[in-house]
């Protein structure tokens, strides 16, 4: 038995293994087939998301068989999920070649449709679009917008430029037009050092740096006016942890009072904008150890609309089927499993 009944829930962060060359090959045109062979483009693992690193992976979920069947057996069936959103976090986010990155994003999306979405009606996915090539990203959104199973576009918590920059606005315009949201997954393409003080030495530091990365991205989206310009857009911080959000709200709202004249298009206190436009997934949860303190930590958000259910499958964040951390208040759970997700992703509704 799991701690909470998850029947009908929508899991907002599920990872298929990132596709390798043989997986993507059928979806590449002749030129890119030639290139991925000649240039030995095969394993597209993102350094910041080392999926072959075993300690990340839950041992009892390891499988050598069909990864979709494993996902059904380990996650979709036992948790009785209505939907699960597939997030491919791969080298597609980090390739320097703007044309290769577009080709890999396209092929990955087609692979998702063919090998995952078409094989289980519960599955939904994040669309990969090349932020390295804004024009191609818009084209990819337009190409796949008719497929409602793509509910958002996906980027990383540490990118080449802060995500609010105007250079990315055509991507947001196209996304908003089609009701696609902006998923921001933990990860870096290492265009910049992961911390504000350069490169660190240890994995645990990397995990800490991503909370700064998320805060930086949210602050950028707000300050540059992305949510003013595209009011339908929401940013979903995925695999970000949760407890970094209230301090960002407090700090940015306070500083806004004195600094707002520089960004007068930020018309409301940033905490209110965050409550309207930012969502966070529930796993991995970084709250206090004592379950009695968990509700207190969540209360600081002053909103029960912001948390979205996630398992982060197949990462090892929980045992058995206890996918939600101990101490989550019943009222919050009843909303985050499904209602908050439906309210966040318009494309899930119909």
């Amino acid at each position: 038995m799991s701690r909470f009944d998850t029947t009908g829930a929508i899991d907002c962060d599920v990872h298929p293994p990132s596709p390798r060359r043989d997986d993507l090959y059928p979806y590449l045109d002749d030129y890119w087939k030639e290139i991925v062979v000649t240039r030995e483009v095969d394993i597209l693992e993102l350094n910041a998301f080392p999926e072959r690193t075993l300690p990340y992976m839950r041992p009892d979920w390891k499988t050598s068989g069909d990864p979709l069947e494993a996902m059904q057996r380990n996650l979709l069936d036992p948790l009785k999920l209505d939907h699960a959103i597939l997030n491919v976090v791969s080298g597609a986010h980090a390739l320097f070649d703007p044309y290769l990155s577009a080709a890999i994003c396209r092929a990955t999306n087609d692979w998702l449709i063919d090998k995952w979405l078409d094989r289980d009606p519960r599955l939904r996915a994040s669309m990969l679009v090349p932020f390295q090539n804004v024009e191609a990203a818009v084209e990819e959104i337009e190409r796949l917008a008719g497929d409602k199973r793509f509910v958002q576009i996906l980027t990383l918590s540490a990118t080449e430029l802060p995500l609010g920059r105007r250079v990315y606005w055509p991507i947001y315009e196209a996304a908003e037009k089609h009701g696609l949201q902006l998923g921001i997954h933990a990860g870096s393409n290492y265009r910049n050092s992961p911390s504000h003080s350069g490169f660190h030495s240890f994995l645990i530091e990397d995990h800490i740096a991503h909370t700064q990365g998320f805060a930086t991205q949210i602050a950028s989206l707000i300050s540059e006016g992305v949510f003013t310009k595209y009011p339908g857009l929401k940013a979903i911080a995925i695999e970000s942890g949760v407890t970094w959000v209230p301090p960002l709200m407090w700090r940015m709202s306070k500083d806004w009072r004195g600094a707002r004249i520089e960004v007068p298009w930020v018309k409301d206190a940033p905490a209110e904008i965050i409550r309207r436009h930012v969502r966070v997934t529930s796993q991995p949860f970084d709250g206090p150890d004592d379950p009695a303190d968990v509700a207190k930590a969540l209360d600081h958000m002053l909103s029960d609309d912001m948390l979205l259910f996630s398992s982060d499958y197949p990462h090892w964040n929980f045992e058995g089927l206890d996918v939600l951390p101990e101490g989550f208040p019943e009222a919050a759970v009843s909303k985050l499993l499904r209602d908050n997700v439906l309210a966040t992703y318009p494309r899930l509704g119909g």
Partner: protein
Amino acid sequence: MTATGRPKREPARHVVARVDEIAEGKSKLVHVEGRDIAIFNVKGEFLAIANRCPHEGADLCKGNVVPLIESDDPGVVKLSRHGELVRCPWHGWEFDLRTGKSWCDPARTRVKSFDVAVEQGKRLVEGPYQTEVYKISVDEEYVVLEL
């Protein structure tokens, strides 16, 4: 007013400045009945608010008077109400000189505003005004604050 309450006091009118003492866009700090009050000249009109910023206590009379800065579209900025707001000299919070309300949190972060009028010296000589500081000249104009 209940029997135990303080008796209601008639507002008193205080002469706090000669009109030519406060240039347009400038301010003057005055002390009336134990209060510090900042008087601003906004394009010839005089406006008064409590001097102490509710945030950390800076003197609002030392802040710059500024326009209202607004935008509906990133990069496109509108200015209006020139000189009708003061920006706190310490942390930049803006206060509306007409209402005392802060721009960012008008419901909770505000300073008291006071009624101010300009009166001819010859009327002040006749009327019931508190003029501890000023020797009233019938030919001058004065800023009068009601408290």
